[in-house]
Amino acid sequence: MKINKILLTVLLFILLIFNYGFARDDGQIYSMAIREVKADNIDFAFMYFRSLLRNYPDSKYAHDGSFAIGEYYFIAADYKNAAEAWSNFINDYPDSKGLPFALMYLLRVAGIRQDASLLEKLRTKIIGLKQLTFLFRESKGYTYKSPLRRKYRMIYYIDKVEFYVDDKLFEKVPY
């Protein structure tokens, strides 16, 4: 069983290298990445997403790829690369629906690195993302599903913002 896994890995590795030679288009690479995500092989999915960004930076899938790269680095606890990836995402896609969650990750990384000035800047940015009115409702929520199939939810209250990842509270930003 163990030998089979190793063989599979080696085969996939060869296949990936082989794929470069054939210069697949961005749609194909993206599909393969998504397939790997569904198969719960996020390491391979990451390789596809990275390949997508390297070879097709202007692709329509680049947005998802960029988000996925940030997510992968964060999951892998590589906070340095995660911070860089999220910063790139925020700069490249300022109107993205995923922007609040990119900021959320960056806020968490700034907290881990104890970067007080960046924390303050990100807090201000998150709070200023939307101007809201609550006439009859107590809160307003926004959702986003990432390329790595993670469910993101952001709930605005009058004096705080809560971020959920896969229905688990991930970050809270009080005003």
Binding site: E120, T124, Q131, T133, L135, F136, D159
Partner: protein
Amino acid sequence: MINYLRKCPTKIIFCLSFILLLITAAITISGNVFLNKSKDRIIQAIGAKQAQKIFIKSIIYLPPNFIFVNGASFSEPRPLLVIPQALIRFSLLRLIIKRRFFLTGASFYNPRGNYHKLYELVKTNFQAIIDFIKLLPQEDIKLKLKGIELESGRQQDAAGYIRADFLLKIKGNSITGSGLINKETVHFRTPGAFTPQGAQGFFSITEGLPLRYNFRGYLQGNGFSLENLQLMRQDLYAQLWGGLSGSIFQVNGFVFANTAFQDPVYPLPISGIPKQRRFFVRRPRALSSAIDLSLVNLYLLDIDCQLNLRLPDIQIERLRFLLNNNPISIKGKVNLSDKVLLDLMLSFGPAKLERQVSENLKKIDLAIKATFKDMIFNGSGMLHFDFIKKRKASPPLDKFQFDFQDLGLYFDRYPRIKMSLKKLDLSCSTESNKYRVLLEEVGAALHLKHSRFKYIEFGSRFYDGFLKGRARMDIASPYPKISSSIRVKAVTANKLQDVLIHFSKVYGALDGRMFFSTYPVLGLSGRMSIRDGYLQNFEFFKWLADFFALASLKRIDFSRASSDFAVNEDGAGLYGMSLDSQDLALGGYFKLGMNDFVSSKMSLALSKPLLSESPKFTRLLKLVSPDLNALTFKFQLSGILDRMNFKWLRSDLKRELQERIPNFIERKIERDVQAAIEDISPADYN
């Protein structure tokens, strides 16, 4: 061989002594006769060099090489300087061989005079004195002044005396000197009671402890080199070195001081007419001159000073030092004429080491033009504080400036200082705003007697009203801790628009009370109220008026509007707001914190007659109970100032409406309002 000397030595010694005595007597008599005859010529010769009238009671020659001068005085015509006794030593050998008079020493005993007159004399003749000294042959000399007593009191109700001893030795190029100086001040308990004719009642004496000094230096071509000057007192220790070359005086050194130290005061009951000489008999008490280093609270280190002395002008080309680790530099000009004129620029950079002092203060600059005469200081100038941009601070101070005109400081009743100020223009700028406060006809009294706490009471015209207050400063720490309370009365609120722009739309008579302190945190708080005024186009009500077509809200007359306020490092806020108007009532708080974050809860009650003006409220009014006289909206604001989130809080009105409006309508209203807000809200915050 017969030795005759051995036979009668006494006789020979007697003979020799007798001959010697005869010679001495002859020399003494002839010398004294000569001096007596020459006395007038000597007086004339000395008098030719100066304007003062000179009187010498007698000049006596004392063998072998002394001249005793008795009762010399300089007057103009009132006595300027009296030297009761002086002993002059000269070189007898040179007198005989070279037939020239060479002075080798002079001692003056108990010279007394008026300090101010002598100071004036020295000041006006400083260059002539320096030139005279330069002309003197560079001979070894010893100069001694013992028991100098100078009257320093100018006021009729305050007397003071300076006493000093001075010893100067010049040997070759080397100069050494030493001595002491102390000041005695007489305070009369009943000010004004002392007249030239005398005083009634009690008085006290502040006996200044002696300042001992010694110096060592060398004479050089056109000046001198000061190798070391030491100043020692119980509250001061200083070491200076440098020199004078032409008109350039250069000095370096350091000073330690204990500013909390006070000279001892001795109350003395005296009745009748106090004789001035009574004060002279006291001598400085024999106290140690050594400073207690554990009590030192003022350090002047790394003094680097260069002055260009062209008296009465002194050009301060460079004066730099560290005051308790705070670098200070001074440039400018001082003129020592009848009035001391100052034209100075001072720059103060706070200590890098004292982080708690004020972590965001970058620099303080002072520019001042002033005069000082008879213990009165008059001047105008500018005091400017520059701050480092501080990310966390709110409100982030950028610059703080005081412009003052006709500042008068009266030191004649020190340690109580009277202060007057024609105009004080205080301006302050933050990253986003500028604020300005104008005070006129300021009067203040500073009480500096207490060693630790200093007090100030002040009052002034404040626009068309007035301001009054008092403050206390604790100087025990390196950073003064200030706490003060200020009362403002009857100021037209609209005139305060430079203080806070929002006042431009507020009319009415403002009264207020505020408290300012720098410790434990920097903060201003207080309460203000405005009587019988109105709000004209006040932003929030103007928005309501436009949005809901309620024209009456553009001008809201009120009987009273009041609020507490607080400004500190966490932000600025209005608390306990209250506005009583016929058709409107407002209450709640509004806080603006760091990075312009708003936190606010308010209630706004609008009367039914007012709401009926608006067609938008007509339907709303039909939905609510007819028993309600006014509709009260309670709401919460939060977020960033220019993108505030709004929440309509639970209230009877909201509950009543929710009961009547179907859910889908609620959602539609919510969506519509959100869409409207997004349309007018500023671009996304990136």
